[in-house]
Every structure is written in C-alpha cells, then in structure tokens.
C-alpha cells in the first residue's frame, strides 16, 4: 500500500483523492447516527474520525444517563457509544480512523472537499454532501479571566475525566471545581468517589447550572459545598496549584471587593462551558451564530454553505446525547433528499428568533412546509412557565425550565406555514389557575 519513499519528485502527484455521496466528519454519537442513517438510506458514506476509536466524548463518560429518550433505557457513555458503533459497523459504514480533517472548502456551489491527514498520507475527499459533527471544546481558565500563576494542576473537566477514566490517573487530591453545570457536578462526584476532597464547586450565577438531580446526587450526597454567586479570581502556586482566590460577585458578575478568600487546594478543575468546534466551518465561510457558537442552519440543518450540514455539539451544545443523535439522523435525511433532488428550499425562509428568557433557537430558518423540531435554552431558571409564541397559537407548559436543560419542541407544519417573517420563542410564567 505504501508508495516508495525515495522519489520526492512524485510528492506533488501523491496526494490521493476520494469521492463519496456523503462524508461525515467526526465519529461521535451525532456522526455515528448520521452515518448509519445515510447507509440505511442507501447512500455511499464515508465517516472520518481523527481519533483511533469512535464514540467522541462518550467513552470517557462512565456514568449512566445516556440514551434514555432513544432507547427508554439508561446506559453509561461507553455502553451507548458501543451500540452506536456496532450499528454503524453492522451496516457496513466505511470508517477512517486516525484521520484528521484539516481543511474544508466548498466546491461548485454545493457540497465540499476536505483535506484529510492520516498515517496514510494527505488525501483530498469530495462529496456532494458533507455532514459536520466535530463536537465541541471546553472553555479554559484563561478564557474565563482567571489570573495569577500558571502552575500544573489547572485543567478542564474533560481533561480530568480523560485522565481518570481513559488512563487511570488521579489528577488531584484537593480540588476546587469552577462551574456547576452537569459536567462540573459529575466531575466533582467522580473525584469524591476516588477519595479526593472536593473543597468547593464555585458558580458565578445565582443558581446551580446543572440538573437538580445532579446537585443532589453529586454534591449533597457527598457533602461538597457549592458557592453560588462566586468566582475564582486567581490561581496561586509556582510549580503546582497551592490555592485559589475566590470572591463573591455582584449582579454583573464582577468581584465584590473585600469578599476575597483563599481556598487551599492542589487542583483547579475548569468546567466553565463548552464551545462548538466550528473553526473549520467558519474558515470555509459558514455563517456562525454568536449565540450558540455554532453555524446558522435551516430546517434541514444545512449551514449557509449549500450541501454542508451540521449536527451534535458543533451545531449546538447538547446536554442529552439523544438530541445529538436525532440531529444526526435529520442530517442524513437531508443529505438523501438533496442527493435525490427532492429537497425543496422555499423562495424565502422564515426566521426563528429568541425572545423573552430564551438564549437561542436552532434551527434558525424554516419554511413552514413541514413539521420542524426546534431546540432552545432559557437564560435563567423559571418554575411553572411555558414556551409560547406571539405569532402562532401554541403553548408548551414547562414545570421547571433550567438553562442546563435543552427545551425541545416539535411544531406542526400547519402552524408554521401561517407564520409571516419570524417566529419568536418566549418563556413566560404560566398564568395562575390556567390549565395546561
């Protein structure tokens, strides 16, 4: 298979090319689901994954809580990933591992070409449709403005999780966690289970970021204190973390002078949110939504680059793997209809826009020709409220809305077709006494 290496003059010709109906970039749950569905729909599909194994971040999430909506059963991350992988392999999806997509460019107004780096060499691959499922990355200590020293022992939650659950290493014994989203909560418990002392979970907002269930099971059951309306300002320690300085914050999340205190610890775990890994899309010219950090998409989950679709955490950071999988399937269906020539784009798109207490809405554009699933998140927690719209007669009651939990709603095409230019998503209090 290897070319002879002694002919540098052939290098220019050596860059090989490949083609497929669909190329899926990223073999996490969203990409695996997309690739399997493409194959089932009879398309020729190529799945390209940079790591040596599939499953994305799932193999390192050894807790349960995966696949409840999809399968009605509760799996651990590795178990759920294995199911997705088995399905893709059984269907005969062609999979390229250790293959990093380093460049994406649109070709001929539809579809795309990618450059792939792998131990096989540099390859160019073209497809009329491309599904992007590259996941997200974590925000680090610098991005959230932590100052002070730069010693060993400051790491993101994902890194800590990988060290523990993929490599069997213990990152720290006395830990402070920044961020009380589910990731921070689950990692706190993970440390506690290893006998490490979690000295505090520090949360900058007034309420816990994660699910109540996780606050109870991950912190309260282990006696881990949570500091709400607090921020980590500074790290101290030249070689290894020795302490962190925390303080109270005001409504604008600025530190309140005089409230600083020092917590001794050897490790600072940063679980301060996730950012879609959309750099390649952005460089190729896709429009990015500053509210999600992911690409702008229409109801086909097609980005502003024709024939390039996005699903999973690169589209919008999902808290449930089931939603990532669902988005993957929709991308596959869209790719099929585009390839078969049955995709009907409207002459003018209608817009889905966030209103009161809604941070974002995905997809951003819809036609009104069919039922459409929308994903959104609230800005701040609210009890007994509803997702409602001024433009159409629909109201979805929500008992407790939390920023940590994606609000998923399916709206019928019959209602959507009546919308003028835009549909505004709002979460408001449920009127007292009203039935729902």
């Amino acid at each position: 298979m290897r070319r002879s290496s002694a002919k540098p003059s052939l290098w220019v010709l050596a860059v090989r090319e490949r083609e497929a109906d669909v190329i899926v970039v990223g073999g996490g749950p969203a990409g695996l689901a997309a690739a399997s569905s493409c194959k089932e729909a009879g398309l020729e599909v190529l799945l390209v994954e940079r790591e040596g194994s599939l499953g994305g971040i799932l193999p390192q999430c050894i807790h349960t809580g995966f696949g409840i909506l999809e399968t009605k059963e509760d799996y651990t991350g590795p178990e759920f990933a294995e199911m997705l992988e088995k399905r893709a392999r059984d269907l005969g999806v062609e999979i390229l591992l250790d293959s990093y997509v380093s460049r994406l460019s649109q070709v001929g107004g539809c579809g795309a070409s990618i450059e792939v780096l792998s131990p096989r060499g540099v390859e160019t691959m073209r497809a009329s449709t491309l599904i992007f499922s590259t996941g997200c990355r974590e925000r680090n200590a610098f991005e959230i403005g932590i100052t002070g020293d730069r010693p060993a022992g400051v790491m993101t939650a994902g890194t800590a999780q990988a060290l523990m659950d993929l490599y069997g290493l213990l990152p720290g014994r006395e830990v402070v966690v920044v961020g009380s989203g589910d990731v921070g909560l689950i990692m706190s418990r993970r440390f506690a289970l290893e006998g490490a002392k979690v000295k505090a979970v520090v949360e900058i907002t007034r309420y816990p970021g994660g699910l109540t269930r996780n606050v109870v099971q991950c912190l309260e059951d282990f006696g881990i204190p949570m500091l709400l309306s607090h921020a980590v300002l500074e790290v101290r320690g030249r070689k290894r973390v020795e302490s962190v300085v925390v303080s109270e914050v005001d409504e604008k999340q600025g530190p309140v002078p005089g409230t600083e205190s020092e917590i001794e610890c050897d490790t600072l775990v940063v679980a301060a949110g996730l950012v879609p890994e959309a750099g390649l899309l952005e460089k190729a010219g896709a429009k990015i939504d500053p509210l999600t950090g992911g690409p702008f998409v229409n109801e086909f989950l097609e980005t502003s680059l024709r024939g390039v679709f996005a699903c999973g955490n690169v589209l919008v950071v999902n808290d449930l793997v089931d939603h990532a999988v669902e988005q993957g399937r929709l991308c596959a269906m869209s790719a099929k209809s585009l390839i078969e020539g049955t995709m009907r784009r409207p002459s003018a798109w209608k817009r889905a826009v966030p209103g009161e207490n809604v941070r974002f809405v995905v997809p951003h554009l819809f036609s009104g020709d069919r039922d459409t699933v929308f994903y959104s998140r609230v800005r701040s927690p609210m009890r007994d409220c509803s997702l409602s719209f001024n433009e159409i007669d629909k109201e979805v009651r929500i008992r407790a809305a939390m920023p940590a939990e994606m609000v998923r709603v399916r709206i019928e095409g019959s209602l959507l077709s009546g919308v003028g230019e835009a549909l505004t998503f709002e979460v408001r209090g449920w009127p007292k006494g009203k039935r729902g």
Partner: protein
Amino acid sequence: MPFRVAIIGAGVVGSAVARELSKYEGFEVHVLEKEADVGWGASKANTGILHAGYDDDPSKFPMRARLCRAGNELWRGLADELEVPVRWCGSLVLAFDENERRVLAELLSRGRSNGVPGLRVVGTDLVQKLESNASKEAVEALWAPTSGIISPYEATVALIENATENGAKLHLETLARRIVVKDRRVVGVETDRGFLEADAVVNASGIFGDLLSGTAGISGFRIRPRRGEYFVFDRDAEPKVGMTLFPAPRPETKGVVVTQTADGNLLVGPNAKDLGEKERESTETTKGGLEEVWREASRLVVGLPPRSAAIRTFAGLRPEPDRGDFIIEAYEDPSGLVNCVGTRSPGLTSAPAIAMEVAKLLAKGGFRFAIKGKWKSRRKAMTRFRDLPSSERDGLISKDPSYGRIVCTCETVTEAEIKEAIRRGARTLDSIKFRTRAGMGRCQGSFCLAKMMVLLSRETGTRIEDVSVKGKGSNVVLGRVRDGT
C-alpha cells in the same frame, strides 16, 4: 588542559555565550540551569522584538545603545544559521500630540547617532499605508524598518542546541548556590548537585545576577524585578498587525506594544510594574495589570478583538539594574568572574553582541581564540509540519507515518514532531510545548495533554505519573485511581 568555563543561567544571554565560546579551540563549556529547560526566565516571557536601536541614549546607557544596535545586525546572520523564525517587519512609534512628536524627533536623532539605518519620521498617510490597523488618531510615527520579531524561546533553544552540538555541556535542574573564590581567583561553582571546578565563571543568571555576583564578593549593584503582563490571541484573530506598534516611550518602559509574534499570534503588552527585591519569581498576572495593558493597547490600533478572545495571558520579569545599564564586566579580584547581568530590555536583541563582549573580556585574561576545525555554525530547525504544503506533508508521512498522527489539532502538531522534540532533549510538557507549539492554541492543551503525557512517558521510559509540566514538583497527576485501571 582545556580552559573550563561555567556559565550560570541558560537564558538567551547564557545560551548565546555558550554558543560563542563553543566555537573556539581549548574551551570546555558547562552551562548550569536551575530549571528543567533552557529559557524559562525572562527569555521566554518577553515581546520578542529585535529592537532597531534608537531607544537608548549612548551618554547614559552606552552598553545598551551599542550592543542593541550590534545585536540587531548579528541576529540577521544568526537567525539564518540557527533557523530561528524571525520577521523583519519594522516598527512604528506612534505620536498622538505635539509633545509626543518632540519625543519622536529625539528618538530619530538618537537613532541616527547610534547608527540605526533607514529611520524616518512619517506622516499619517504613510502610517496608514504601512499599517492599516494603526490608530487614525496618530499624527506622526517613527518608522524603524530594521526592527524585527523573533521567537525568543526558540532562539534560546537554538543557541543551546548549537552550543551542545559543538561540545558544550548543559546541566539542567542544577542550581548554582555560590561562586567559589580562592586566592582572588574563581575556582568553581557550588551547586545543589555538587561542586563544579572551573577556570572562569560567567554569571548570566538574569534576575538573580546580583545575588550570585555577591557570593563572589562583587556587590556594587542591585537588580529588581519589573513585571510586564501580556495577552496572546489565536492565530486566526483579527486584526493582524504586520508591524510592531509602539506608543511614545517613557523612561521606565518602551510602553505597551501591539505586534504579531514570529508564530503569527497577535500579542499585546507589556505594562511595567516595579516589584519588591524579594519578588524575583512573581510572574503572576493580575487583574489590574491586564486592564492597564488593555487600555494602553486600545489607543494604538483600531478594533482589537474582544478581550475574552485571548487564548492566554502571561507575565515576565525584567531584571532591572539600579545602575540602568547592562552590567558586563570582568574583575581583577576575583579574576575569572564575568558578570553579564542586569539584562533588561533590549537584552534579547543584544544577546549575541553581549556574548562577543564576554569573549573579549575572557581574551583579556590572556586567552587565545582559534575557531575549532570542526565547528558547526548551523543548527537545523525542528520540522514544522503545519507550515509545509500538502505535497511535502505527504512526503513526510510516507517516510514516517507518525507525521500522519495529529496530536495537537489547534496547532496541527504531529506525533513525529513531539518525538523529535523529546529526542532533542525535551523532558517536560512545557519543553515540548515551547519547541513544537503543541498545547499553545485555542484549547490550551485540553485535548492533547493526555496524549503528550503518553508520548513523553513512552519515549523516555518514565512512568506516566511522573510526567511534569515544568520539572520537579509540577507533576500533572498525583497518582493513580483506586481500581488502578
């Protein structure tokens, strides 16, 4: 018997001295460095500017004025011989009012008397043509076409690699405690790993220079830390300034600059804060310092990226001598001691010229200099996969498939490059980072940290638990999980 020289400190200055002395017949060069790698003092945390040489008044700071100008010239050949990335991009000092215009006029005439070529004061139109991101408020600028930007840590690594290739010995994690003098002569250095006999000692210990000098009985000066803080942005961040932009200088500092590093990152800083004499390792960043940097930088360019887009902040300490000028001298009592300390800015620029000065001082001791027959002037740079065109990348992968394994995806660093860095002596994660840029990108290593640990442990045959970020006491992990998986 070879003449044995012990150089204390492997910053850019000590490394340049080592490289210079390793050229010659008859020397045995030893470099003692307390950290786990070279260049981890001021030499890795600075702006990286190769100053043109107009800043320093030759009547007040004759060494700085002369050696900066000479160093700028020397780096041209040296960067090429050592394959260190450098951009000769030129710089602009912006003036915003009449007062500052007068400062420019002063700098211009000073530069001319220092022999700086090509200096000119230019008006707004040309300023905008030269650097379209420069503030529109600037009324005039001093244009120094010979100013450059170098990767300061790569420069240090390159100098030491070339020195060791020519026979110099590097002793890492070796702290010099005392310069030992007997009968008014230097006889060696007492370290935490034992005594090293030496005929001469070059004190290039940066911020600790006065303290070490004091152990040999020379104590006529003091060094104090002056901290400078920075923001670094991703290589994709806009605007990309092509030239280095300075404000009009103040006596204590050349001011907060906006520039692009040799690797292509937007870099903003430093401020200047004097610290106490004991705070010689206080390289922490501060909220106030960073705010100051941000304020100052915003004056110089139009449309900085949002502060939250910075991928890293850091700080460095300038070793400020109370005398003002560099201290580069040898003594009669004790003989054999050469101080080259007080190396504040422009010490990076001046380093190759300082090294020649040190050689001259040693020559005064009667030493004859003859270049070694088998001296190698050139050093080969590390492979930089990310800078290569696809066809060459493919060629590399076909020779060694580990070029096809991307370890750091933010900066496109391959497994082969990481192994090369380890072969060249990297033993910590920071050493790998500074040599390859792995972990220097947007995610700051959150994806590749574990993979680098695996590679480092595999290639060096150490336990993965023992992998450190920056040497002793900075292990990444503190043990294994209970079930020992």
